[in-house]
Amino acid sequence: MNVIVCVKQIPDPALPGELDPSTNTLKRDGKLILDESDSYGVEMALQLVNTAGEGSVTLVSMAPNDEVSGLRTALAMGAAKAVLVSDPVLAGADALTTAKVLAGAVGKAGDYDLIIAGTESSDGYTGTVPEQMAEVLGLPSVGFAKTIAVDGSTVRVDRQTEAGYDEVSCSLPAVVSVTAGVVEPRYPSFKGIMAAKSKPVETVTAADLGVESVSWAQSISSVEDAPAREAGEIIEDDGETFNKIVEFLDNLKVI
């Protein structure tokens, strides 16, 4: 059971996001970390390989610079190796270009049964890359998986829906995108962190993957401030402020 996991290295979401004033795209030049929403996919992949009793987890990722610190986190969790597409021409790439590049990187990652990705990143959140990648690779796909179980050449997925969930059966190989929260991502052990330092990370460019058209048909025409809400009344609780809430609700006639 070989599983490829697509991971993204993003600016720390705890820090306020910033736009590059010259391009109006998100600034990604500082330290990048593993997108927390990808740690669920890594964990799920590790568990599937463990259940199968054989195989390994390979990471694929794309970054405009040679950043690997986020990849090292996923390698420390237990992934065996990584393919990183690092190319300045990919800075600000749209989701379609990203999907083409990652699909190319999958070709460098060796044999696989399953590709796992997060449903969307925590910085750009376009949310289309997994399904686009599946289409580029000519594979079936299941989005928004809450659980994944592999049974021979079939993957069974509980897929989140508006009303509840669907049980889906899908032939392998396939692309499955996972939602957060259904597995508890492990913390890398000290041993894992040390081992990750020597795990192979193959760095390639877009041209190495045969991705030639690196342009995207959208441009940011302007960025404006959203209309601000009028400042409300902020009060410290003195044990009686619940009355203020009751009064507020009363005025709105909701009670």
Partner: protein, 322 residues
């Protein structure tokens, strides 16, 4: 070329068009030109509603027979486009199915996508969409620069649905072609998680809880208050990820967009991801012990205090009123 042919990805359940479909059709018809609804499945009794909201033509794929819509509906769309009806713009709802179909179609047509948008404007042959970022504090305007069809997804409640268009609603079949290797996924059973009370995205009052509740059991307070206010309980991504409540409770970027009359945020700090889903509420009440929490920036009434003290007192006071 002007933008004179717009498609709207549409869905219907039990002869009822989804609200998202009707919102997008209403917006599409305001942009001028011909509007077509492209129904994933069978329109049935929803056809009249789709026409009333602006659909001059209604494409139907027919029963999806358990196929996931992503591969199936995008292939049906491509077949119609290859057949000569080439839209200038295709509008999708930002939901599970819309996003999957949009993604597949973007590769088939080799077109970029713009998602999470809340508005669209047309100027001659140029189409610009507006997308809130950084929790809705900034709005980014992005213009498609390539060739049509342009593909965009819009968040629910971005537009008001309004009928009265009196469009023809002429039905046309758009069958799903053979999907080859991409058609390997089949739905084997459907589960509906029943919730009592009003639906989260339709409720007039929403009470949401976050990490500040401290532990899963304390979500009971959120449910009690929601029930007293005849509202729906909701949650931040943090406690959904932590497994305290199901994903269907999530309000925010990845969850539901709510625009209730009153939104109560209990123990929610107001991360970007959450704010996008609730900023449109008419009135916001926030209870949080950290007075620097971003949620107070949008609150009409903010209580800087311990949810474990304020919520029980509030619940008791409301119960006492009967």
């Amino acid at each position: 070329m002007a933008v004179n042919n717009i498609w709207v990805f549409s869905q219907a359940n039990d002869d009822e068009a989804t609200t998202a479909s009707l919102e997008l059709l209403t917006k599409a018809r305001s942009l001028g030109g011909t509007v077509s609804a492209f129904v994933a499945g069978v329109a049935g009794g929803a056809a009249a509603q789709l026409a009333d909201h602006g659909a001059a033509k209604i494409y139907e794929t027919g029963d999806l027979a358990g196929a996931l819509p992503g591969a199936a509906v995008s292939a049906a769309m491509q077949a119609v486009i290859d057949g000569g009806d080439v839209p200038d713009l295709i509008m999708f709802p930002q939901n599970y199915e819309g996003r999957d179909v949009l993604s597949r179609l973007s590769v088939k047509l080799d077109r970029t996508v713009l998602t999470n948008s809340t508005d669209v404007t047309v100027d001659g042959d140029s189409v610009t969409v507006q997308t809130p970022i950084f929790g809705g504090s900034k709005l980014v305007n992005s213009t498609f620069t390539g060739v049509a069809p342009f593909l965009a997804a819009f968040r629910p409640k971005s537009f008001e649905a309004a009928g009265g268009a009196g469009a023809a609603g002429e039905l046309a079949s758009a069958p799903i072609p053979d999907l080859g290797s991409t058609g390997g996924a089949t739905i084997t059973s459907v589960h509906v998680e029943e919730t009592s009370g009003p639906k989260l995205d339709e409720a007039a009052v929403v009470v949401s809880g976050g990490r500040g509740l401290g532990e899963a059991d304390k979500f009971d307070m959120v449910e009690s208050l929601a029930k007293l206010l005849k509202g729906a309980p909701g949650a931040s991504r943090a406690i959904v990820d932590a497994g305290w409540v199901p994903y269907s409770y999530q309000v925010g970027q990845t969850g539901k967009v709510v625009k209730p009359t009153v939104y109560v945020a209990a123990g929610i700090s107001g991360a970007t991801q959450h704010m996008v889903g609730m900023k449109g509420a008419k009135n916001i009440i926030a209870i949080n012990k950290d007075k620097e929490a971003p949620i107070f920036g949008v609150a009409d009434l903010g209580i800087v205090g311990d949810v474990h003290k304020v919520m029980p007192a509030l619940i008791a006071a409301l119960e006492a009123r009967g």
